[in-house]
């Protein structure tokens, strides 16, 4: 496997292998000396056409802990805005010796084009493309869920956190993903990966934020969060970020005026926000995830975000381990195969 473009690229065994590799990476991160020599002399380019400090820093940290050289390239304009084209930018970076390109781009499919158009020969890792995919986010979410919940009641709570769930999938777990599914690459990646790992996924959103065509996805769809919490008792609930421009009257006066996807932030919060009352409806073992950055008071209340059930900071920590695993598996010369 040369690229990681979509969560759909991974079958069950490959996904478990990434998660297990991430666990091995995580085990090294408790040491005083965190750095591994694995990718010494290799160059990883973070090519970011969208601002995302969190994801960029996570990839940068992962690459540096593996001793790779890291180049951060924040491309202000893309060819969408008539700057230098994606093709020219990528070819320039390859000419400087990049071995892998980690790309974040507002256009769905941009990483796919980079990997398959013949423009460059490097490995391509999708760090989020448009409303399509964000596979390393799904992997870190799955990793976090597995760490807490895999194996059900029989799992050994005394094991080291990094070793919990090793070799296991997520069979039988019920996971609710709540919010702006329509515009969410996180939701698309998670539906695919969590399904591949055997979990039962329910998407919860107002109908305006569920894509036409989602009926073909391997998950259930509900418009009612309270029903899902009461009837399904999900083991994990993932709150998606709701962007400001989706609200109310849309962007105000521009061409999208009047195209808000829901009437008001208050109505959204009442129907789909995770607050203290809904937190109490969850089973005792349930965990709360959020890909960040959060809109406190909108999709998630401070009570929920700061509760003991919230694993949001663990997601950030695990993101480094998962990205180390992906870089290692794609780039290391001496390694076992993916699956």
């Amino acid at each position: 496997m040369k690229h990681l473009l979509s969560a759909g690229d991974l079958d069950r065994d490959a996904a478990i292998h990434v998660l297990d590799t991430a666990a091995r990476m995580a085990a090294t991160q408790g040491r005083e000396m965190k750095k591994l020599p694995t990718l010494r002399g290799r160059t990883v380019v973070n090519l970011f056409f969208e601002d995302s400090t969190r994801t960029r820093i996570s990839f940068e940290t992962a690459a540096k802990r593996l001793s790779a050289d890291v180049i951060n390239f924040a491309a202000k304009g893309s060819s969408v805005s008539k700057g230098e084209s994606l093709k020219d930018t990528a070819q320039t970076l390859q000419a400087m010796g990049a071995d892998a390109v980690v790309i974040r781009h507002p256009a769905s499919g941009a990483p796919h084009r980079l990997a398959h158009s013949g423009w460059v020969g490097t490995s391509v890792i999708n760090a989020g493309d448009g409303t399509h995919q964000h596979p390393t986010q799904a992997l870190l979410d799955a990793y976090t869920i597995r760490q807490h919940l895999a194996g059900g009641p029989t799992h050994d709570p005394t094991a080291e956190p990094d070793q919990r769930g090793l070799g296991q999938d997520l069979a039988g777990l019920r996971i609710a993903i709540v919010g702006d599914v329509l515009h969410s690459r996180v939701a698309r990646s998670n539906v695919q990966l969590l399904h591949t790992l055997g979990a039962q996924v329910t998407l919860v959103a107002p109908p305006t934020l569920v894509p036409v065509g989602a009926q073909a996805w391997p998950c259930d769809v509900s418009y009612h969060l309270d029903e899902v919490l009461a009837d399904q008792q999900p083991d994990a609930i993932m709150m998606l970020r709701v962007q400001r421009e989706r609200m109310g009257a849309g962007a105000g006066s521009g061409p999208s005026h009047g195209t808000g996807f829901f009437p008001s932030p208050l109505e959204y919060t009442r129907a789909f926000g995770l607050d203290a009352r809904r937190l109490r409806m969850l089973p005792d073992h349930a965990i709360v995830l959020h890909p960040g950055p959060m809109n406190r008071g909108l999709e998630i209340s401070a009570d929920a975000a700061d509760s003991a059930r919230a694993v949001i900071l663990e997601q950030v920590t695990n993101g480094v381990a998962v990205r180390m695993a992906v870089l290692y598996l794609l780039l290391a010369k001496e390694k076992e195969t993916w699956a």
Partner: protein
């Protein structure tokens, strides 16, 4: 252009019927039948046409020639040469040039460039609204009464979405028997749209272009056309729902005609999974069920014609990420091969039907079936010698690098088509012979064409 020569077409099958001979002289068909050679002079060129189907020269109601303004993508000369290689003797050149063809001056320029090139008759389409802005009627009368004699008006690329403007346009062109060719796309439902909205768009995360955005405009427009008693032509019908509305409108006697493109007869939205912008087109590629519906509608006459929507684009406008790419694909040189493969080879249409949907019907809709240089006429004695010879048995694989259009944005590269253009005659003069254009260029296939 050149000395008039007689051409004796031996053993060709007019509209796929019984083989016979045709004699072309002085720009006309002067004899049809086994004794046609009797009238041939000693200088007559004989073409052995055994196994070839003779069609009236093809007429495209929807071509983008890009000149003036985007000569880097196509010119009138290169686009019409590609048209001749595709078997066409007449094309309607769309108005979305730069400057827009919204005045008598611009349409006369395009018309003149077509005459000078000499590959096919070029009939400019006039813009409905000034600058295609959808706000104020362009000078439709001036264009109609110009040397270009414009009869087809379209803001193609943009929908005339203001219902009042559309009503006025439909009414106004009645004075000179014009027709409004509508690009049916409700703009608010398609803000930022990239591909057909459905199962594939949901998965690949490209903004959806819902079928209803096309169907809602067609439904409105057929009712407007009925109300004011005008002629409406619907460009590039792409959905099963549009077909149902057209069927209903025709059953009510509404004066509406419709076209389908070759690509909507063949390709589906599944191709967008590749994120290759060669498959990005407007209206978008739809589902397999839609493809079946438009094929059926073309066969039963609900859709009247095939029109190419030939839309050349430069490499930089396609060699990029999907969202940054231009909409459109070339089609002049592959249209007949696709119609042959999808409609004739499958037994859904005869060659007489092909002549209807690719020649006589589009000529009538565009009102170029009569006048000084009529097109889409029968293959009968006394008619203009606009003749296309097709090898119906030829199977050929499209090689995008070998097409004659200046632009390379064909989505059909590597696909096998059937039905190959062997010769095209424009008023008795061969623009294409043995698959080679009169200036020595050749279109399309990997490997030698039949008869070369």
């Amino acid at each position: 252009m050149g000395v008039t020569t007689q051409y004796l077409l031996r053993g060709v099958a007019p509209l796929g019927g019984a083989p016979t001979d045709l004699l072309l002289a002085d720009g006309r068909i002067v004899a049809v039948g086994p004794d046609a050679s009797d009238g041939a002079g000693p200088e007559a060129v004989t073409i052995q046409g055994d196994g070839l189907v003779a069609l009236p020269g093809l007429v495209d109601l929807h071509t983008h020639l890009r000149e003036p303004g985007r000569e880097d993508a196509e010119t009138v000369a290169t686009g019409t040469r590609a048209a001749a290689l595709g078997g066409f003797t007449s094309v309607h050149a769309m108005a979305n040039t730069s400057p827009v063809a919204d005045t008598a001056g611009v349409v006369e320029q395009v018309w003149r460039l077509g005459r000078d090139a000499g590959w096919v008759d070029v009939h400019p389409v006039g813009a409905v609204s000034m600058g295609l802005a959808g706000e104020q009627l362009a000078e439709l009368g001036a264009m109609a009464h110009s040397a270009a004699r414009v009869r087809v008006f379209s803001d193609d690329g943009h929908c005339v979405d203001d219902p009042v403007l559309m009503r006025r346009a439909l009414e106004y062109v009645k004075a000179f028997d014009g027709v409004i060719a509508q690009h049916s796309q409700e703009p608010r439902l398609t803000l930022g749209s990239q591909m057909h909205e459905g199962i594939v768009s949901a998965e690949v995360g490209l903004a959806g272009w819902p079928a209803v955005a096309e169907e809602a405009i067609i439904a409105r427009d057929v009712l407007l056309a009925e109300h004011v008693g005008s002629r409406l032509h619907v460009c590039h019908v792409s959905t099963a729902g549009s077909v149902e509305i057209l069927r209903w409108a025709k059953s009510r006697g509404i004066s509406v005609t419709a076209e389908v493109t070759p690509h909507h007869l063949l390709l589906t939205d599944e191709l967008a999974r590749s994120y290759d912008p060669l498959y990005k087109v407007n209206p978008p590629l739809r589902t397999a069920a839609d493809v079946e519906a438009v094929r059926e509608a073309l066969a039963d006459g609900t859709i009247d014609i095939v029109a190419t929507d030939h839309a050349p684009h430069t490499r930089e406008d396609k060699d990029c990420e999907w969202a940054a790419a231009a909409f459109g694909m070339t089609g002049l040189e592959t249209a007949l091969g696709i119609v042959t493969r999808t409609m004739v080879d499958t037994g859904r249409m005869t060659w007489a039907d092909v002549a209807r949907v690719l020649s006589s019907a589009p000529a009538r809709i565009g009102r170029v079936h009569e006048g000084e240089r009529p097109q889409g006429r029968p293959l009968s004695v006394g008619e203009p010698a606009n003749v296309t010879l097709v090898d119906p048995a030829a199977r050929w694989t499209v090689d995008g690098t070998q097409l004659a259009s200046t632009s390379r944005n064909t989505p059909f590269g590597g696909r096998e088509l059937s039905g190959r253009v062997v010769a095209t005659f424009l008023r008795g003069r061969p623009t294409v012979l043995d698959g080679v254009a009169a200036d020595g260029t050749r279109s399309g296939a990997a490997g030698p064409p039949g008869g070369a």
